[in-house]
Symmetry: C2
Subunit: 141 residues, 2 copies
Amino acid sequence: MIKIKLLTVHKIKEDWLQSALQLYEKRMQASCQLEWILAKTEVQLEALSVKEPHFIALDPHGKSFDSAQFSKWILKTAENWRGKLTFVIGGPDGLTETCKKKASFLWSLSPLTFTGQITRLLLVEQLYRAFEINKGSGYHK
Amino acid sequence: MIKIKLLTVHKIKEDWLQSALQLYEKRMQASCQLEWILAKTEVQLEALSVKEPHFIALDPHGKSFDSAQFSKWILKTAENWRGKLTFVIGGPDGLTETCKKKASFLWSLSPLTFTGQITRLLLVEQLYRAFEINKGSGYHK
């Protein structure tokens, strides 16, 4: 089973987001184990990120994929990283320069800016979609 | 005040989405009037869309913007279209070919595929962000 660490700053503010994340996390139980690590500050987020042997940082200037490409790439990456994936979502001011430099990969969800809260949902939904595409289920259609 | 019509298929399935949309719609009350029009089928969605004098269709192969560009563009478009904006979000099989051909503009939120449910949230959040960027508030940072 793939272990996924999700590093970000601040707690979940919105009740609706809590419900949405729980829903996707439940659906993904069979495919992966998700762990949220919430830093208190961006400095702490940087410190936690750079301790990871590999991590994918979400950045609007990163590389983008369509969902099928992302599915293939992320499952290959999980294989290369011995079943462990780490994602880092920056705070309101984005990621620190050090965080970007040390990241194994910069991934852009969209050229649009979303709140950190919505980014959490998009990331989790794309991970779920990636597993479903890989399984060949009908979810992604 | 700008009048915005949002045309899509099927009801909102998820409670969390209902809450999230209500939250953003409340925040936007001062800037615009939002109206959801929910078609029952994709054929009905097409029929409703093509009756509009102008409409923006959401399509992964459309043009993409960053949030600042979208803000400028959408406010200019609202001016050109006499204060009335219409957006069309396709169902699980995307938009019909006729709908794409008749659209005034095809806009891509991201090369990734999202559910129609999440797309509603992203669209409403980007509209809110567009107004806030235009006002020069701190929201978008």
